[in-house]
C-alpha cells in the first residue's frame, strides 16, 4: 500500500506529532504547525494519535492511490477532490485504488493535513517521522516531497467503513484572519517596560511574510525593553514570543531552535497555536490576550475533549457493522 505524489503542492512534507527526547542535543521537535487539524485528520482516518500524515501550505498536493483506502483532510482553506468529486475538509473519505486525490485551495489555504488510514511509513529518524528540512532528516530523505515520490503505508483493511465521519464545525477552533490569541505572560516579563507590555496585549500585530515552520515574525507597535533585548541563551518553549532589539515579536513555531538569546515576553496558549499557525502572511491581524497558566491549561483540556466528542459518525456505519 502506498501513495504516489503526482504534484507536491507547496511546502509539502511528512509530519508526525514530533521528535521528542533530543532537544538537549539541539534537535527541534518539528511536527505539525496546526496540531489540532493534524490530530483531527488522524482521528477521522482512525489512526492512533501522532501517526505520520502529509502537511502542506497554501497549495495542496495531488496524489495517486494504489488500492482502496480511507483518507481525511483537515485544516483551513482546502477541499478534497477524489477523481473529480469534491468533499469538504474535516471528513473521512473513501478513495478507490488508482484514484487521483487533489487537495484544492479554497479562499486562501493555510496549513492542511491529509491523513491516510494506516499512516505514512517512511523510516523513523531518532524515533520520529517528522521532516526537519534545515538539517535534512526525517520524513522522506529529510526534504519536501517531489513529483514521483512514493509514500509507503500499512494496509488498513476495515477502514473504509468509517467513510463519512466528520468533525462537526462547532468543535473546531475559531480560525479567523483576525484572531484573538491567548498568551501567558513571561518568562521575561520584567525585561519590558509597562508601556511595552501594554503595546503587546493592547494592539494588533500583522503577520509578516517572514513566516515559516521555524517562526512567525509579527509587525506592529514596538515592544519596549527596560534594558536590552539580549539574555544568556536558554531553552525555548513552543509558542514563545521572542522580542529582539527591534521590538517586533517573533513567535517560535514547530521547527523552532531549542535555545535562544532573546527576551521572551510571553508564551502562546497551546490551544490557540492553531489560530496563529493558520494566519495568512501579509494579511492577518493578531491580537494577544493575557491569561493565567491555569486558564491556558483549561482551554487546552477543553480543546482535547472537543476533539473527542466532536466526531459525528454516519448511521450507515452501524448498518455496515450489522452486515458484518
Amino acid at each position: 500500500m502506498s501513495l504516489r505524489v503526482v504534484s507536491p503542492g507547496f511546502y509539502t512534507s511528512v509530519q508526525d506529532s514530533g521528535r521528542f527526547g533530543f532537544q538537549r542535543f539541539g534537535v527541534p521537535v518539528s511536527g505539525p504547525m496546526d496540531a489540532f487539524a493534524f490530530d483531527a485528520a488522524n482521528r477521522l482516518a482512525v489512526n492512533p494519535p501522532g501517526t505520520a500524515a502529509i502537511e502542506f501550505a497554501a497549495a495542496g498536493p495531488e496524489l495517486r492511490t494504489e488500492v482502496d483506502c480511507l483518507v481525511a483532510l483537515a485544516g483551513v482553506g482546502f477541499a478534497l477532490e477524489v477523481d473529480g468529486v469534491a468533499f469538504p475538509a474535516w471528513m473521512a473519505v473513501r478513495a478507490p485504488g488508482g484514484a487521483l486525490l487533489r487537495v484544492v485551495a479554497i479562499d486562501g489555504g493555510g496549513w492542511g493535513y491529509l491523513a491516510l488510514a494506516g499512516g505514512i511509513h517512511t523510516p523513523p529518524v531518532m524515533g520520529s517521522r517528522a521532516t526537519y528540512t534545515r538539517a535534512g532528516f526525517g520524513g522522506l530523505d529529510g526534504r519536501l516531497l517531489q513529483p514521483g515520490d512514493v509514500l509507503p503505508s500499512l494496509p488498513a483493511r476495515d477502514a473504509a467503513r468509517f467513510a463519512g465521519r466528520m468533525l462537526l464545525p462547532e468543535f473546531r477552533p475559531a480560525y479567523s484572519t483576525a484572531p484573538v490569541v491567548r498568551v501567558v505572560l513571561g518568562p521575561h516579563e520584567e525585561a519590558f517596560t509597562p508601556a511595552g507590555i501594554e503595546a503587546f496585549i493592547g494592539s494588533a500585530y500583522t503577520l509578516t511574510r517572514t513566516a515559516d515552520r521555524m517562526g512567525y515574525r509579527l509587525e506592529g507597535a514596538p515592544i519596549q525593553h527596560r534594558a536590552g533585548a539580549d539574555i544568556l541563551s536558554d531553552g525555548i518553549a513552543l509558542g514563545s514570543v521572542q522580542v529582539p532589539g527591534s521590538g517586533q515579536p517573533i513567535v517560535m513555531m514547530s521547527d523552532h531552535q531549542t535555545t535562544g538569546g532573546y527576551t521572551q515576553i510571553g508564551v502562546v496558549a497551546r490551544a490557540d497555536l492553531p489560530l496563529l499557525a493558520q494566519c495568512q502572511p501579509g494579511v492577518s491581524q493578531v491580537r494577544f490576550r493575557a491569561v493565567t497558566p491555569d486558564e491556558a491549561r483549561q482551554a487546552y483540556i477543553m480543546q482535547q475533549a472537543a476533539l473527542e466528542r466532536g466526531i459525528w459518525q454516519p448511521l450507515e456505519d452501524t448498518a455496515a457493522f450489522a452486515h458484518g
Binding site: A135, P187, L232, A237, Q257, T259, V267, P293, A296
Partner: protein, 224 residues
C-alpha cells in the same frame, strides 16, 4: 545571582517551567543545572517530558493534561531542597577533539592572532590548553557552547556573519568556543576544523557531545 542562591522559577506557558540558578556563565551554576537534570531523571515522574539545560537554566517541559504549573513548581521546589545532596555530573566524560588549525581550515586565525598581538602558534597553544565545559547544546543540532576560553584569545563575533561555514569548523565568539556540526551560516571566528562528526541523525545518541561533557582540543597537522 550567584552559585549558591535560591533558584528562581519562571512559568513558560501552560506546558513548561524554567528553573534559573544564576545569571552568569559559571561552572558551579551550570553544575547545579545538571544536578537537577539528574534528579529529574531519577524521579522519572509520569507526564514529565524533556528538560533543556542551558548556561544557568533548565527548561522543564510537561504534559498540561496531566499537571498544572503550580503542581510542577511545587514538585520542583521539593526536588531542589535536596539537590545539593544528589551526586551530580561535575565531571562529565572527557572528549578529545583533533583539530587542524589555520589555513583553509581556520580562515580567521591570522586576523585573530594579529588582533591580540600573538603568533599563530601561541593562539593554537592557548586554545588547546584548557579543558572546556559543554554548557549547553543549541543553535543547530549538536552545536556545543563551551566555556573556559583563555581571556587572551576571547574575540567578538565577526561583524558580518559568513553565509556558509563548513561542518566541523571550530570557532570563537566572545569568551566561548564552539564547533559547527552541520554546514550553516554563522558569525563565529573560525580558527580550525575537526574531521570528527559532531552530529549524525542515524547514530545513537546522535550528538557526539552532551551537555556537561568536558572537551580538550588536540592540534594535528594536515589538510582539514
Amino acid at each position: 545571582m550567584g552559585a549558591g542562591d535560591v533558584p528562581r522559577m519562571r512559568v513558560c506557558g501552560e506546558s513548561a517551567v524554567s528553573v534559573q540558578f544564576g545569571d552568569q556563565i559559571d561552572p558551579r551554576v551550570n553544575a547545579r543545572v545538571h544536578r537537577l537534570v539528574a534528579a529529574l531523571r531519577d524521579a522519572a515522574w509520569d507526564g514529565f517530558g524533556e528538560a533543556i539545560p542551558a548556561y544557568t537554566t533548565l527548561l522543564v517541559q510537561f504534559d498540561p493534561l496531566r499537571w498544572s504549573t503550580d503542581e510542577v513548581t511545587n514538585r520542583l521546589e521539593r526536588l531542589l531542597m535536596d539537590l545539593d545532596d544528589v551526586p551530580g555530573q561535575e565531571s562529565g566524560r572527557l572528549v578529545e577533539i583533533p583539530v587542524v588549525y589555520g589555513g583553509a581550515a581556520g580562515p580567521d586565525l591570522e586576523a585573530l592572532a594579529a588582533a591580540h598581538g600573538l603568533t599563530l602558534d601561541e593562539v593554537v597553544a592557548l586554545h588547546a590548553l584548557p579543558e572546556y565545559r559543554v554548557y549547553m547544546i543549541g543553535f543547530t543540532p549538536g552545536f556545543p557552547y563551551m566555556g573556559g576560553l583563555d581571556d587572551r584569545i576571547a574575540t567578538p563575533r565577526r561583524a558580518t556573519p559568513r553565509t556558509t561555514i563548513p561542518a566541523g569548523s571550530v570557532g570563537i565568539a566572545g569568551a566561548q568556543t564552539g564547533i559547527y556540526p552541520l554546514e550553516s551560516p554563522g558569525g563565529w571566528q573560525i580558527i580550525g576544523r575537526t574531521r570528527l562528526v559532531l552530529f549524525d541523525p542515524q547514530r545513537d545518541p546522535p550528538s557526539l557531545l552532551a551537555p556537561g561533557d568536558r572537551v580538550r582540543f588536540v592540534p594535528i597537522k594536515g589538510a582539514a
